[in-house]
């Protein structure tokens, strides 16, 4: 590690109603890979947005190469040598790879853009990074992993001194992650400062030199990676030791009836010949890496996306599900991973959201019986302990955990027997998380069956009675909870990746 290149001190930032950053400090040295960790909503992304000029800070100082700086937009930050590789891909799909890498700073020949030079330069960059991508290919034709590599190439081509990686590995395969780490090591050897944001603890241990932990918008501390353990970091992130004991035994009797049977489900590249059974009162965990096809399987099962083939049996009866309408009729409910886009109508009230799937129950003739609607909604607000002043509150004003409860209420009002929980605790704080877990256990006791898709290993091991593992669109294993270990799941989740 070299001398300090970047210091952020006492950074403070408020949004209406939220104190997003509360006097956060960060120090980065040349030739260092510095991890920035924290739970969802801890403020990591906000801090990086302040650094790169997307947000302006309320107070605090940023010292870069010995001078105090303030960037007003990403362009200024780039000019100064600070670039960010975004978590969401920021690529222009209709342009080529080379055009994307040099967008905003095209080489020119007179008034013309010099596309040939851009292609040559891109080629050089890729050679340097030892990756094989055609600079003339259209960006939207590349795989997600390759797009990510282009994003990295773009960042490097800025003659950057500081590169921020915002969860770069989320969409990558093992092989691509290995490539990525090689690139990062090269960059470190060239004395660049690297900020690495990730949730994957094992990656942090492998690649980073120091770790700064944030919690609830505040700075918790900085550790030297090789001197600390996983548990140290986790404790700093959550502020306490997690007492999450894995389930040791399935709570479902062996003779419990099969409520849902899926056979040879196919839907595009991401769902290939998937078969499984779900028993009454069971929580069936779906594990796998990002992009393994779990959400796609759930959506195809639910009729949200078209499927090419496959049979679905509910309580032994073969059923046709071509739309969510069909699925709901057959008693299936789906909690999407992306609550805001697919789960709730944020500009509408809790009542309107809760009864959306069950309108027929609340009709008196042509009119909606608003009294009954309200009564039922209030019952579920109480039962699920949703924190809200009233049932008329707009969902947009609720916290993530409470919004999730509204979605759950929607399916409970409908009295669905089969529930698909897709990443049920994503973006939800620890307290609300535990409530959701308790609720899931209660539901299964009442005889409902749950398919739970989760990317958190602890969640899978804690909640599931049985675990289905997927990898690249195929089911690669099924493990009873009694035999499940992190290693066993990981082994199957990476089975097809060479």
């Amino acid at each position: 590690m070299g001398e300090v290149i970047l210091t952020m001190k006492g950074i403070d930032k408020s949004f209406p109603g939220v104190h997003a950053l509360d006097h956060v400090d960060l120090e980065l040295r040349r030739g260092e890979v510095h991890a920035l960790m924290g739970e969802n909503g801890a403020g990591k992304s906000t801090l990086m947005k302040v650094l790169t000029g997307i947000y302006t800070k309320d107070s605090g100082t940023i010292t870069y190469e010995g001078k105090e700086v303030e960037f007003h937009n990403t362009h200024e930050a780039q000019e100064a040598g600070i670039v960010i590789v975004h978590q969401e891909l920021n690529m222009v799909g209709d342009l080529t790879v080379a055009q994307n890498i040099f967008i905003g700073r095209e080489f020119k020949k007179g008034i013309m853009i010099d596309d040939k030079k851009m292609i040559r330069e891109s080629q050089k960059l890729f050679e340097e990074l030892k990756i094989d991508i055609d600079p003339k290919a259209k960006m939207s034709d590349l795989t997600v992993g390759k797009q990510q590599m282009c994003e990295i190439a773009k960042a490097i081509s800025h003659k950057a001194k500081v590169i921020i990686f915002d969860e770069p590995s989320a969409a990558l395969t093992e092989k691509e992650i290995a490539d990525l780490f090689n690139i990062i090591r090269d960059l470190r050897a060239q004395n660049l400062g690297i900020i690495y944001i990730s949730h994957r603890m094992d990656e942090i241990k492998v690649i980073t030199d120091r770790v700064t932990v944030m919690r609830d918008g505040g700075y918790v501390g900085t550790l030297i990676t090789k001197d600390c353990t996983k548990e140290d970091i986790i404790n700093m992130m959550v502020g306490r030791v997690i007492y999450e004991t894995p389930k040791t035994q399935s709570a479902v009797p062996a003779d419990a009836p099969v409520v849902l049977k899926v056979e040879h489900l196919n839907a595009g590249r991401m769902v290939q010949d998937v078969s499984f059974e779900l028993r009454k009162g069971e929580i069936l965990g779906f594990s796998g890496l990002m992009g393994a096809g779990r959400t796609e399987t759930a959506r195809a099962l639910f009729g949200a996306d078209p499927k090419t083939s496959g049979d679905i049996y509910i309580n032994g009866q073969k059923v046709t599900i071509n739309s969510p309408e069909d699925a709901v009729k057959h008693g299936i409910g789906y909690l999407s991973e992306d609550r805001k886009r697919y789960g709730i109508v944020v500009q509408k009230s809790i009542t309107e959201n809760s009864t959306m799937a069950t309108m027929e129950e609340f009709m008196s003739g042509f009119l909606i019986n608003k009294g009954k609607e309200k009564k039922v909604t209030e019952k579920y607000i109480e039962e699920l302990a949703t924190k809200t002043p009233s049932a008329d509150q707009l969902v947009v004003n609720l916290s993530g955990g409470n919004q999730q409860k509204v979605v759950i209420a929607k399916w409970l009002v409908r009295n669905c027997d089969i529930l698909i929980f897709d990443e049920p605790t994503r973006g939800i704080d620890v307290g609300a998380k535990n409530e959701i877990y308790k609720l899931m256990n209660r539901l299964t006791k009442e005889g409902k069956s749950i398919i739970m898709i989760s990317s958190e290993m602890t969640e899978i091991l804690r909640m599931s009675d049985r675990i289905v593992v997927m990898c690249e669109g195929k089911k690669t294993g099924e493990i009873p909870i009694e035999e499940a270990t992190q290693e066993a799941i990981m082994d199957k989740a990476t089975r097809d990746i060479q």
């Binding site: 937009n73 990403t74 362009h75 780039q78 975004h86 891909l89 920021n90 690529m91 222009v92 799909g93 209709d94 342009l95 055009q99 967008i103 905003g104 700073r105 095209e106 020119k108 008034i111 013309m112 853009i113 596309d115 259209k138 034709d141 595009g268």
Partner: protein, 348 residues
């Protein structure tokens, strides 16, 4: 690589379609094969093609400009009024006509890019406003621009679009000869009118296609339509280039106004609504994506000619001229359907 090929072939199909439609109608009704019929279609087409080239830019950004039709009339009224009643020289009036278009384009761009209004709504409003403004400018009177036989010589601007060749030597003679060969119907071609406007169209087409594919402005227009957020995060001044797309569109609506003034004996206030549809429809027929991110100028020009041939050719096949509007509407729907099917196929 294979994809690029298929995109190329789409514009190729349209080009073949243009020729096929022309030959088909000519085959069904020989009088369609007159040189003057073709000249007439070309004459009508100039202002539609100019509007089409312009509106391609907003369309590629994922927007639209509905104000080009009424706008064109408004600028032509303003320019004509200045020539008629204020004694402004024709060249200056033409310049003002074009600048008027640029100004309205800038207004559209500001409303959409800076104030964040939905494009179709903002331009629907400017469509109505320019229609009103046109009447205000002309005092609600129909305004004739000088005719090509105007005794003051003010009609010179007609020769931009159509010039008389009465010379048998050199290039002119060759041109005349080839016209005679291609149009055996017209036996007594002692002099011909050459569609000079078509040459300008070709030049503008090449220029704008060059701008679209080889300059920053063109590159960013495509980028905005494809992924605005990403373009902004790349440090591109998205707002400026987004406004510019509408300014260029306005500029071409201004040029179209001159072409319209040269075509029509009088410019009527209160007209123009619906003309934008042929231009936009042409662009979409020519492969410009309705969701933005893709489009070519030559595709648009070819697309406009598909519509022009259908509209002007169908009366030759015994169909009531009033069907023209129905045809445009239907062609637009078909073109969008093809676009939708294409996108669905690509997803797979």
């Amino acid at each position: 690589m294979t994809k690029k090929k298929s995109v190329f072939s789409q514009e190729l199909i349209i080009a073949i379609l243009v020729i096929a439609i022309y030959l088909f109608i000519r085959w069904r009704n020989a009088s369609f094969g007159n040189y003057n019929t073709l000249l007439n279609i070309l004459d009508i087409s100039y202002y539609y093609v100019l509007m089409g080239i312009g509106v391609t830019f907003p369309l590629i950004t994922g927007g639209v400009d509905l104000s080009i039709g009424t706008g064109m009339i408004c600028y032509a009224l303003a320019g004509g009024y200045l020539i008629r009643f204020s004694g402004v020289p024709v060249w200056a009036a033409m310049l003002i006509t074009v600048l008027f278009g640029v100004a309205i384009g800038a207004v559209n761009g500001t409303l959409i890019s800076i104030m964040g209004l939905p494009p179709f709504l903002a331009t629907l409003c400017t469509c109505m406003i320019t229609r009103g403004l046109g009447s205000v400018c002309s005092g609600s009177f129909a305004i004739p621009w000088p005719t090509d036989t105007d005794p003051t010589g003010n009609g010179w601007f007609h020769s931009i679009f159509k010039t008389t060749i009465n010379n048998d030597s050199g290039l002119y003679g060759a041109l005349k000869g080839s016209v005679g060969a291609l149009f055996p119907m017209d036996k007594r071609l002692t002099f011909i009118k050459a569609p000079l406007g078509f040459v300008w169209i070709i030049l503008l087409l090449l220029l704008m296609q060059f701008i679209l594919s080889h300059t920053k402005f063109g590159r960013y227009t495509i980028a905005i339509g494809s992924n605005k957020e990403a373009t902004m995060l790349s440090g591109v001044n998205v707002k400026f280039y987004h406004v510019m797309a509408y300014v260029v569109c306005g500029l071409f609506a201004g040029l179209a106004a001159i072409a319209y003034a040269a075509y029509t004996p009088t410019v009527q206030p209160g007209t123009g609504a619906g003309m934008e549809l042929d231009a936009i429809g042409g662009a979409i027929v020519g492969g410009v994506s309705t969701t933005g991110g893709y489009g070519t100028i030559y595709g648009t020009v070819l697309g406009v000619y598909v519509i022009m041939l259908l509209k002007n050719g169908l009366p030759f096949m015994g169909l009531n001229a009033n069907w023209q509007q129905v045809i445009t509407g239907t062609v637009l729907i078909v073109a969008v359907l093809i676009d939708i099917i294409k996108r669905r196929a690509m997803k797979k």
